[in-house]
């Protein structure tokens, strides 16, 4: 397993038994470098050369005085990844591989929380995934603990600590039984990111309707509509009223206003009137007739 070296600003790497690769010069590449850290590559020999650092993340070039270290200052090489260091001296070329590894200290979290609005009381209804990055936007692939906390206005907060794998950690949380805003926080290494989850009532529960005649019309209305926890269903939620008579069915979609949905229907003797909201059906009323 590789030994990951944390570099200080003035660190200079010296590698024993480095391979000599040209007649006129040689270099000793560190095995790995922390992203953004300063470092030096010792060289030996005499004369001059050119050093190329190439990888998908960056491409750098340095003129080299052989025998002198090649210095890279803080921030010169900051993209994590796999690189080639190629030293060109005259017609000779030597190449070594090395890795730039992410800094271990998190700087940013990319926190995806879903959904932003959810019914209360759902098991594992809320999910959060956090990607952890260092100061140079490198994904920190070494395992790191990430704590997830979901707290509402009431009740105890839910908390879980998950260790990242390949830079990501995720968790599921239950939505609480009370309405309101819940804060969903992911935290790693002193860096946190917060999302707000809107906890809304569940489906209507025990939907009941009543009817009274108003001239040639029937005024049909629901009782105050609640979910099974007694939370009022928000205004605007649609209740569908259905009147069926002699095999003919007519429907009216009505939004709840001030907790109640009401509609006027033709007063037809023998009609069956019912109501439903979402997947919940209420009681049925048989009007007049036999």
């Amino acid at each position: 397993m590789r030994n990951i070296q944390k570099l200080c600003v003035s660190a200079i790497f010296t590698m024993g038994a480095s391979a000599a690769f040209s007649q006129s010069g040689q270099m000793s590449m560190p095995h790995s470098i922390t992203a953004g850290a300063s470092f030096s590559i010792p060289t030996s020999g005499t004369g001059t050369g050119v050093l190329y650092i190439t990888g998908p993340g960056q491409a750098l070039r340095r003129d080299v005085q052989l025998g002198q270290p090649v210095a890279f200052t803080q921030g010169d090489l900051y993209c994590a990844g796999h690189y080639l260091a190629t030293l060109v001296v005259g017609a000779s070329t030597g190449t070594e591989e090395f890795d730039v590894i992410p800094a271990s200290r998190p700087k940013t979290l990319s926190f995806l929380a879903r959904p932003s609005r959810i019914s209360i009381d759902l098991h594992d209804g809320i999910s959060g995934a956090a990607y952890v990055f260092d100061a140079y936007d490198n994904l920190i692939t070494q395992p790191l603990p990430v704590s997830f906390v979901l707290s509402g206005q009431y009740g105890a907060a839910q908390s879980r600590t998950i260790t990242t794998r390949n830079g990501v950690a995720w968790t599921g949380m239950d939505s609480t039984s009370k309405l309101g805003k819940a804060k969903f926080v992911a935290q790693a290494g002193g860096i946190s990111s917060t999302r707000v989850i809107d906890l809304v009532p569940g489906d209507p529960c025990g939907l009941t309707i009543s009817a009274r005649q108003n001239g040639a019309k029937l005024l049909v209305e629901t009782s105050p509509v609640h979910d099974c926890k007694g939370n009022p269903i928000p205004d605007g939620t649609i209740v569908t009223f259905t009147e069926a008579i002699n095999g003919v069915q007519s429907t009216a979609d009505v939004p709840i206003k001030q907790g109640i949905a009401r509609v006027e229907l033709p007063a037809q003797s023998g009609a069956t009137i019912s109501a439903a909201s979402g997947v919940v059906a209420g009681n049925a009323i048989h009007w007049g007739g036999r």
Binding site: R2, I4, A19, F21, M29, H31, S32, Y52, T54, G55, P56, G57, Q58, A59, L60, R61, C79, A80, G81, H82, L84, T86, V88, A91, S92, T93, G94, T95, E96, E97, D99, I101, L112, R114, P115, D124, S127, A129, Y131, D137, N138, L139, T141, R165, N166, G167, V168, W170, G172
Partner: protein, 163 residues
Amino acid sequence: MRRLLAFASALIIPMTAMTGQPSVKIEPAQLMSSRPLEKQTESAVIRDYLESWKSFRAALDQNQPSLLDTDFVGTARDRLASTVEAQAKLGIHTRYQDHEHDLQIVFYSPEGLSLQLIDNVVYDQQVLDHEKVLTTTQVRARYVVVLTPSETRWRVRIFQAAE
């Protein structure tokens, strides 16, 4: 410890030897998330990821960042484009030829907005100063890749070799 010594005499590998389709091995997905991975999604992700290597190769070889636009987005696109621009300034370009991909999907985020795979890849990396080959090196690396869905395809958002 991984070290490589490449001599100038080894730098004249003809590029004809660096062409051809890579071999692709797909390990069974080992998801650490709760979201199931549909076979169709898995196929699309792998197809789009392998496609992304083509645009990656072309962009880094031709020093044309616009070639990245179809397959890369976000940090991955920005970094590769920055590398292309740096290469152009330095008068170099890089030819990558992928030979083997050993792929495994390891994470599919619960909301379906990101998917992570690991690619143990073998590729040749050839660095050229204008048309003079400076080095050709066969690299074995483990890439951590994060893809996100776009309108018609999965695009690479994080493309990072890791230890």
